[in-house]
């Protein structure tokens, strides 16, 4: 399990992460969303012990990363930014990690095959494309066969085939019981990959929940169309907390808030009111994200 509690990071006067708390649990893919500069990378680096929190704590299986006995067997990480010596080959980069962590060289070949880089393993990293570097980074994260994965924008530089491969891979990792925490700005891709979402803006948590909860959101109105819309409106409005009103366009439609699809259907049936259409429009993850973060860089 990966957890951050009341995590705060200040860089001088700038508060990059502000009292953030969330958990990533085994068997689930947790998407970590936020505009550029929202504090995602800083949070992940604090989780991995590379950046020191100003306050709060970040733990991996209930221990700070720096205190883990077998770090790369516990959690594998893909980070943004340079992390390879350009003159070293991909295979040698992985051999260094394998040697330091006591993994056999055969594991290097396994992960190279897994990320489909076995043909390019002997080329120097400076000749790699961005996508190949991402795959190499992923190979490094998998080398210790970890129980958890922390991935910062892993889809960057991948072609559509690679993105699809990554999605299937992450789903398979979660299905195998691993904890997966993945940050990304490719929202359409995240919508197809994650089980739960944490959204931050200005370093603060602005939403957390399952993808269904977020995209169906209790605030989204229910739309119902009936030939007897006025009688249905009165019947619905009789219920406490239910707000039903016709839209300006009319057409027998009612916009209903504060209730469920099931309750609207039941009330209509109890009052013998025919219903032609009844639905709650599902919001896209992108729409939810833009609404929550203000839709601009860093949520401004």
């Amino acid at each position: 399990m990966l957890e951050v509690r009341d995590l705060t990071k200040r860089f001088g006067a700038n508060v990059a992460v502000d009292g953030l708390s969330f958990k990533a649990t085994p068997g689930r893919v947790l998407g970590f969303l936020g505009p550029n500069g929202a504090g995602k990378t800083t949070t992940l680096r604090m989780l991995l012990g590379l950046t020191l929190p100003t306050a709060g704590i970040a733990t991996v299986e209930e221990h700070p990363y720096r205190e883990l006995e077998d770090p790369i067997g516990t959690v594998g990480a893909v980070l943004e930014g340079p992390q390879f010596h350009p003159g070293r080959t991909g295979r040698n980069h992985l051999r260094v990690i394998a040697t330091a962590s006591g993994r056999p060289r055969s594991r290097v070949e396994e992960v190279l095959r897994l990320v489909e880089l076995d043909g390019a393993g002997d080329k120097r990293v400076k000749t790699y494309s961005l996508g190949m570097r991402q795959r190499l980074s992923l190979a490094g994260a998998l080398l210790g066969d970890p129980r958890g994965l922390v991935l910062d924008e892993p889809a960057n530089g991948l072609d559509p085939q690679g993105i699809r491969w990554l999605r299937d891979f992450l789903r398979a990792q979660a299905a195998g019981g691993r904890t997966v925490l993945v940050s990304s700005h490719v929202l359409a891709e995240m919508a197809q990959t994650v089980d739960e979402v944490v959204v931050i803006s200005h370093g603060k948590l602005v939403a957390q929940g399952s993808l269904d909860e977020l995209t169906h959101g209790v605030e989204a109105p229910i739309w119902v169309r009936s030939p007897d819309a006025e009688r249905l409106r009165v019947a619905l409005a009789a219920r406490e907390s239910v707000d039903a009103k016709p839209p300006e366009t009319g057409g027998g439609w009612l916009e209903v808030r504060g209730t469920t699809l099931e309750e609207v259907g039941t009330i209509a049936a109890e009052n013998g009111i025919p219903v032609f259409e009844l639905y709650r429009p599902r919001q896209s993850l992108e729409a939810v994200f833009l609404e929550l973060t203000g839709g601009t860089e860093a949520g401004r």
Partner: protein
Amino acid sequence: MIARVAAEVLKLRTTRTFWALAASTFGLILLIVVLSLSLDDALHSDEDAVRSLLGTASLSGLLMLVLGAVAGAGEYRHGTIASTLLVTPNRLRAVTAQTVAVALGGAAVGLAASALTAAVALPWLASIDAPVPDTSDVLGIMFGNVLYSGLAAGLGVALGSLMRNQVATIVFLLLFIFAVDPAISALAEEYARFSLSGLTAAMSGGSSEDFGADLLPFGAAAAVWAAYTAVLAMAAAALTTRRDI
């Protein structure tokens, strides 16, 4: 720790920097040895001149100091420090492993440089009936060269890890060795034998007369150099523990 040192050795030998600096070291030493043998008439009669010639391999120490600085600060230049610390989160272990590994690499270059010097110089000296020191003396000079090269590389790593910037580390080292260290030695006589140049002379078979001040015994000089390295490595680890990567 052995696994971490092995990984750092692998890191060192899988980039061109190490091999390029090693090749430069051998080329420079070969050039100096051949020129000295060809031009220095003192070699025909002066044993001190011969000892000095055999100590030419200690030049590898200066280049290994640069190698260490490049390796230590290079972790930050290329961002590989993140990968290193994800595998070895304990900063002191990480710095120690790299210091030991690069010191081993430096010692290996020092050994090869000494062997090259001996292979070229000894037959040449024999052919001109030069006063060659006895075998144990020659081996002592070579051992000093090897040890100095290794320790110099280790010091470079520790300083590079502390300063985090390759160019700044190398400039600082060169300024210190060629300007600050001699200046302090001239001003404070007691410091001279603890200076980097004093320790270098003590380890590479120099004499107090040539150096112009008392030198520490060989073992003590190596111990003091190793202590300087340990202090720098601990400072680097302490700073890295408190800094963001």
